[in-house]
Amino acid sequence: MNKVPSGLKYSKTHEWVEAQGDGTVRVGISDHAQELLGDMVFVELPEVGSKVSAGEECAVVESVKAASDVYSPVSGEVVAVNESLVDNPEKVNQAPYGDGWLMTVRLTQPDELAALMDADNYSALVEAEAH
């Protein structure tokens, strides 16, 4: 049973967003996504200072069987990335909502958050995809 924490927002492409309360959000991939991808071996993160747009690729997660694009759920500027993933990519599998976070983004269009799914809707999406 995948974990879908209630306080987060989710995108259709299985990324989660956590508001930090200061105009920035933390972004990662969901438990459902990490389980599908398998054991992570490498994470390619964006450069701090680069601009991201909602719906566009911003990172790549590489597992033993595939390399998958991560799509930014929001638009803004990358202010931090999780450098510890360079040496420990497995954190994405072990703690996708915690230590396996990917990046922190300063929002340029906060209204985008409203378009993202809440936990219940995302759970429904995952259910539907299973069939």
Binding site: F42, E47, V60, E62, K65, A66, A67, D69
Partner: protein, 458 residues
């Protein structure tokens, strides 16, 4: 066709099982107007006996002549044991190594090849080879543009002293990918790049290409060029002759930090000239850049029982996984050529390669001395060189080469079309296979050609 394993009866039985009338019906998805049809322009096939005769005649065309042409492909002695081993069925027809469980021999060989070539270049990692030196350079240009996150530039500096064919191949491959290759000229006397000339270079660069030796056989000032490039945050792409690297400073030791990516033509390592191919391109890089390196990479690991095993690794770079975002569309390597090169390198060892390289250089020096003793013939450049050198003649090189060929001597490579400013110049090379009698033969043949030339015999 005697080599198809199925009989007519078997074909009919198979078609009956799947419920199809004839083999043609299996291709009915292809629109009729796209089918190739009869191909009437092709001549009728010939049998094995006639074909063997034809190929024998063709093979005789260049045989018997003394070869003093280098220019990117070199005639070296290939010990008999090399192809004796490489011709074994296990090596000769072993197919693709994608199934590790069925390809341990091939994969181990690739791993050993990678280890040897990386060692020769003093670099950290190598791939399992690409098609040839020229396309390897193009791949490295693409790789440098991808990998250089510091400048994010799409500009490359490439000296005019890189092989002209490599320039053309790189242009073909990168021209429509938004990458600009800017060519920089050499200094008149040394045939090399003068770093001081580059002090005014403006703008960011993704990489600088450094040939060593360069197309003229001359030795660029690699330490100065590498340090210049790194100070500008550009990556260094080295294009080298593998045999030369046993004797000269290998790219991993250039400048303060070494070259970043290395490529070159592997033909000198036990591959025959074969009218131009197949050859192979080698590629090495720093560990930090390995995820941007294209091509196959064999890795060493352990199986479930802890036994050493080999497998293709870092495959998420490749197009069967990464598709349009892959480092390259290449999904193969020059397996047989690399097998040959590995056997050759194992046989010669580093010391063996060094003595071959030294013999090549000694013979070229001797050849230059003998030829420049002839009236009207002189070396064009001063400065150090490796196993190739440019000489200038009193009359056009094409005419001299024709006269030499008529006497069984392939004298060199005419430089006029690629470097018209050099006039009657040609590139000559003497490898370890030349005896002093061969050098005498060349000198005497050249003497005769010049004496008989209408422009000179007045």
């Amino acid at each position: 066709m005697p080599f198809i394993p199925h009989t007519e009866d078997e074909l009919r039985a198979m078609l009956a099982v799947i419920g199809v009338d004839g083999v043609e019906a299996l291709f009915d998805e292809i629109p009729a107007d796209l089918k190739a049809g009869e191909m009437a322009a092709l001549p009728a096939g010939v049998g094995e006996a006639a074909l063997s005769r034809l190929m024998s005649v063709r093979a005789q065309q260049d045989s018997g002549a003394l070869c003093f042409i280098g220019a990117g492909a070199y005639q070296h002695h290939i010990p008999a044991v090399v192809w004796d081993i490489a011709s074994r069925g296990e090596y000769y027809t072993a197919y693709t190594p994608y199934q590790a469980e069925a390809s341990q021999g091939t994969l181990q060989l690739l791993y050993e090849y990678q280890t040897m070539i990386a060692g020769l270049m003093d670099m950290e990692v190598a791939n399992a080879s690409l098609y040839d030196g020229a396309s390897s350079l193009a791949e490295e240009v693409l790789m440098a543009v991808r990998a250089n996150r510091a400048t994010k530039s799409r500009r490359i500096l490439m000296p005019r002293t890189v092989h002209p064919n490599y320039h053309k191949v790189v242009d073909t491959i990168v021209r429509h990918q938004g990458i600009t290759v800017e060519v920089r000229d050499y200094q008149g006397d040394s045939a090399c790049i003068e770093v001081a000339e580059w002090q005014d270079e403006a703008g960011d660069l993704a990489a600088v290409v450094i040939p060593f030796p360069n197309f003229f056989g001359a030795l660029e000032d690699v330490d100065a060029l590498v340090n210049w490039a790194h100070a500008r945050r550009a990556l260094v792409i080295a294009v080298v002759n593998p045999l030369a690297m046993s004797l000269l400073k290998p790219p991993g030791q250039w400048g303060d930090n070494g070259a970043d990516i290395v490529c070159g033509e592997g033909q000198p390592l036990g591959i025959p000239l074969s009218s131009g191919g197949p050859y192979f391109g080698f590629m090495c890089c720093r560990q930090a850049l390995v995820r941007q390196m294209p091509g196959r990479i064999a890795g060493q690991t352990v199986d479930l029982e802890g036994r050493t095993g080999y497998t293709l690794t870092l495959q998420a770079r490749e197009q069967h996984i990464r598709r349009s975002k892959a480092t390259s569309n290449i999904c193969t390597n020059q397996g047989l050529m690399v097998t040959t090169a590995t056997i050759y390198m194992a046989l010669q060892g580093h010391a063996g390669l060094q003595s071959i390289a030294a013999a090549c250089h000694a013979n070229t020096r001797a050849l230059l001395a003998q030829l420049s003793a002839i009236e009207g013939v002189r070396a064009v450049f001063t400065g150090p060189y490796f196993h190739e050198v440019v000489i200038c003649l009193p009359v056009p090189a094409t005419e001299v080469l024709a006269g030499l060929a008529a006497q069984g001597v392939l004298g060199g490579y005419d430089l006029r079309s690629d470097y018209p400013e050099l006039g009657n110049a040609m590139l000559v090379c003497a490898t370890e296979i030349c005896s002093s009698a061969d050098l005498d033969t060349y000198a005497q043949a050249l003497q005769r050609v010049l004496q008989a030339h209408p422009a000179l015999s007045s």
